[in-house]
Amino acid sequence: MLEALDELFSPGCVTRAADDLAHWGRDWTTAYKAAPSAVVFPKSIHEVVALVRWAGSHGVALVPSGGRTGLSGGAVANHGEVVVSFDRMNAISDFRPADRLVTCQAGVVTANLQGFATEQGLSYPVDFASSGSSQIGGNIATNAGGIKVIRYGLTRDWVAGLTVVSGSGEILECNQGLIKNATGYDLRHLFVGSEGTLGFIVEAQMRLALAPPPQRVMVLGVPRFADILEVLSAMQARLVLSAFEFFADQALAKVMAHRDLQSPLSARVAFYALIEFDDDALEEATAVFEHCVASGWVVDAVLSQSDTQAGQLWQLREAISESIAPFTPYKNDISVCIGDMPGFLDAVEMLVAREYPDFEVCWYGHIGDGNLHLNILKPESMDTQAFYARCHEISPKVFQAVAEKNGSISAEHGVGLLKRDFLGFSRSPAEIGVMRGLKGVLDPHGIMNPGKLL
């Protein structure tokens, strides 16, 4: 039946080679084995429409594929699905300066959009460690967050319009760049974060921001976990932060070993906060630092003296994910409201100490957004499947603590396959019922990334 794909696509745009299936069949999630039946590379919206209609009438499951940097298995094809890669729909087709709007196809790499914005004297301010590989379509489908959320918000905040091919093969043009549009349901926001389960995002109009003023980076040493929140509120009371990240010394140790870097501070400290702010707020930031030292929260800090150094300091945070990857980390990506953070941190820390006494635990995250990345590293001697099984047993206990604070079991990684069975910790049966109803309307044949999210 899959021979029909060769008629739908031009030569070289369909592959069934084993290497390609393994490559395009999975994302950065290491728990699943790739097993798609084919990979296709559409070059136009009309090819996507033809594919979805064909798949609908033949009941063939489709998995959308962007930069495949996801961490929840949202882009994993492990049941003979056809992978739809947007690698070749990667054009930036229009720029409207008066609206600060860029029209780009789904496969545009995030860093290329950022670069394009910079060339126009503007910026695309959503940024993450994987922006050199991730694609804008995937960013939207997962409502990606990243390291500048505290100031610039999530991907959702910059989506001004979407063109989507729904599961029934219809083209939906959702809000075409308008700032104001009070004409009923904003379907655009329904597709943001939908993980490809309702339709495929094929084109997006992204709003650009003004170019940011020169920035400074400060890395502070914070001996006690709870004091990181004190530092955050002291900083936020007096200056506008572009980023507030934290990481534990275990995470730093992995980065230093992996990238051969020096320690930022002269002595090692249990936790670090990395903050970024406008250069002209330096005096305020220094005053807050002094206050933090006087209060006993902070023992030392370094300050970037150039953009080059700012980049080097950022590496300490951005390289964590890559540096711990060889240790087969089990990733938790959880969030609560900032006000609930202190109690939540205590509860999770006790739980982790009790449940994972024999595992190395790596903490880091966007604490300014209430978002923690709790990574459990696999002991070298332990079998991978046994390790995941054990983590899966403990996860409900972590998620229960999240649920008690009305938090989210997936702050920014999405639900995908990895968190699907735990959705009930963050969404009520009534909500999940509505989600299923929406899926039924937009994906009547159940072919759009089936098994993910719901």
Binding site: G12, P214, M218, V219, Q262, P264, L265, S266, T286, F289, E290, V293, D300, A301, V302, L303, S304, Q305, S306, D307, T308, Q309, A310, G311, L313
Partner: protein, 250 residues
Amino acid sequence: MKVMVPVKRVVDANVKVRVKPDNTGVDLTNVKMAVNPFCEIAIEEAVRLTEAGLATEVVAVAVGTSACQEQLRTCLALGADRAVLIETDEDVQPLGIAKALKALQDKENADIVIFGKQSIDGDNSQTGQMFAALAGMPQGTFASEVTPEDGKLKVTREIDGGLQTISVSLPAVITTDLRLNEPRYASLPNIMKAKKKPLDTMSAADLGVDVAPTVEVVSVEPPEERQAGVKVETVDELVDKLRNEAKVIT
């Protein structure tokens, strides 16, 4: 033992520079400036000599506009004890800088003068050598290792295709290569202490030196833009292009 470290204020290495439309130079409006990376290595080496108990004083020096104070403060935060700005609004060049530094050295009598091997803006790699000649001091250039030994300096130099080890008597000039050390970050407590460290300003005229440029820049051109690559469909097509277009095989 006193160590003098001349440092240069240059465009931040992370900045993508643009050539001015009239091709007279690089556009510096609103461009972030920083300590020349090789000079950072020089400061780090001097501070390490102090920490090892081998040097007693580190003096950072800049020749340029009053804006250079910013970079001198960075050097003070990194561990220099005091700083001197030889202030001039001239477009200073290696020879003028070397003359000004020589005049200062006559007062300071530093035992070691550590330069960066070159600045990332001018790429001249001349100032350290010119200074050594004017001051009549031996020089260990492109150093990747410096060890004080019996009142001399053992210097490992990075030369084409290998390393050369030399010994120079003091006072001596060193210029730093990339591998000499990895500079530390400036800590906040040290940045605050640096505000109270002495930073003296004098003019080139105070030193009786003429730093007027002797070389005139005629034109600055950006590198030619590279043509985008093309993807070929087959090996035959590749071979054909290599033979007939690129003409790299026959």
